[in-house]
Symmetry: C2
Subunit: 334 residues, 2 copies
Amino acid sequence: MSQVETTDRVAQGVIGDLFADIHDELASVEQRLQEELRSQHPSVDQVVRHGYRLGGKRLRPALLLLAGKACGELTESHATLAVVVEMIHTATLVHDDVLDEAAIRRHVDTVNARWGNETSVLLGDFLFSHAFYLASTLSTTDACRMIGQSTNRLCEGEMRQTLAEGDLLISEEDYFGIISAKTAELCACCCELGAKYAGADSDRTEALALFGRNLGIAFQIADDLLDISGEEATTGKSLGRDLAKGKLTLPLIHARDTLVDGPRNRLLAQIKQGDESLSKEILATLRELGSLDYARRTAEQFAAKAAEQLDRLPESAAKATLELMAEFVVARSA
Amino acid sequence: MSQVETTDRVAQGVIGDLFADIHDELASVEQRLQEELRSQHPSVDQVVRHGYRLGGKRLRPALLLLAGKACGELTESHATLAVVVEMIHTATLVHDDVLDEAAIRRHVDTVNARWGNETSVLLGDFLFSHAFYLASTLSTTDACRMIGQSTNRLCEGEMRQTLAEGDLLISEEDYFGIISAKTAELCACCCELGAKYAGADSDRTEALALFGRNLGIAFQIADDLLDISGEEATTGKSLGRDLAKGKLTLPLIHARDTLVDGPRNRLLAQIKQGDESLSKEILATLRELGSLDYARRTAEQFAAKAAEQLDRLPESAAKATLELMAEFVVARSA
């Protein structure tokens, strides 16, 4: 699975500006993450500290904090929950690296390349466990329950995706179902938590949950697009991994459903062969059929749906930032 | 890691009798596990249902239920928590199978042998997540916090163990630290939860937590003994895996520390070589040096310490069963 990350320098600059409004809160998240990801056992300490370095642009903590600010005041609970969601996200990244045997993740050695698959599995477990533990330090079970429900769906989505690898006939509906579960679910949860812990009413909480879900779907489509047509140097990840694993993402599904007869069979054979030398040919086909544009337009539609939900919120700097995130999410794959 | 399991028929018979007193409660655990380990997505459903079959003798739910009964009345919370601890245990087994590349687990195909490592990792995550979610359906965060703390330590213990593989100089103290974290921690947590949710006072709760911890250590020593000197047909597991991975357990640590000079170096060289043909020679050395007996006696001492704690509880059928468990735990490796 290629998760939502943004590591190219341009994106980092844009995000740095975007999040200026929650700069201090994000800095606290960093500090807390560094404090939590420690162990009294030196050998373990070395590994869990590496887990900290694997984090991305902290988009999920940012979503949670901005959703909170868009609805009211941030509390101590927001600070804890921002750390929780980032730990969960990092756990899924670490376990994805086991799954994908990815050699590169954000220009840093993956844990499994450095310590082996066993340690990666255990580090992911440690991060999951630690996240749930931290959530349980809040005064009620609400956050634990919301997060538990989201991770249940996230895991199901990941499993559906893995079990669908090599299925060249996967439907567009299934693709959306999978990315909604594996990526958008946690984004929705972040926004819902942020709103809830700022005391938002049910209408605003729902609006933000829907914002998160649609943004998450747009994110993932854009990320899948980058896997096909991005550049390794700027994305910081091994590219074409989806194709190599027989994982059909939106552009390929579109191309498959646009073509008929011989050309369709030829494309499917190329995908099945999984030969790297064919990826250029496949990319040419996708361009020719407008499949990359189709995926980009679809991502834009989800981003627009996300932005629409923000109309239900009062004006605020945080709301403006969320609007910019919805704009930015697709731009990065253009 | 070789976790605590008892699958030989004799043991099953003994356990069947042992748990007669909580037969109905254990049957409810089975039913609830089957109900929870489902998915609306057929492909995922197939995998998570397999997860149910991988469970062991439900020792952890039994500990939780018996600890509760030894302190008072069982509640609906006990029923939920018994399912939670078994899910967590199963998650660690599934992830252990990834780690160990074990081909056999309880005479049932391991998930990774059947679906690959990726699916095993995700199934384990699903089980962890589901367990935490279920714990969050209780009325307070107490159980979530206790379980989260335990799984934090459990994961650390597993990591310590994995990172110590191939370390032929691991100390006995480190060995005990590792098994206390990776195995005894969850057993202690089960007993503590059982007591707490039956309204036990702090003295009885502590007594049961210590019972669980010492029993767990005895369990793991006995299990490690079985890995070295058991029989595959009766244990239902691939044997000698610890040795093959350069994982030193108590008998080997004892032998290493008993020998000096040439014989010591020869033993270390044999272990390092990891050749299956040498396992008979190593076993002969262990017998000769009394290292198997030493490990068995040590397990018996921990079992006795566990039993001592029960003196702090009033007489009851549940207490009598816990006493029998402490007797039984080492007998199975004799």
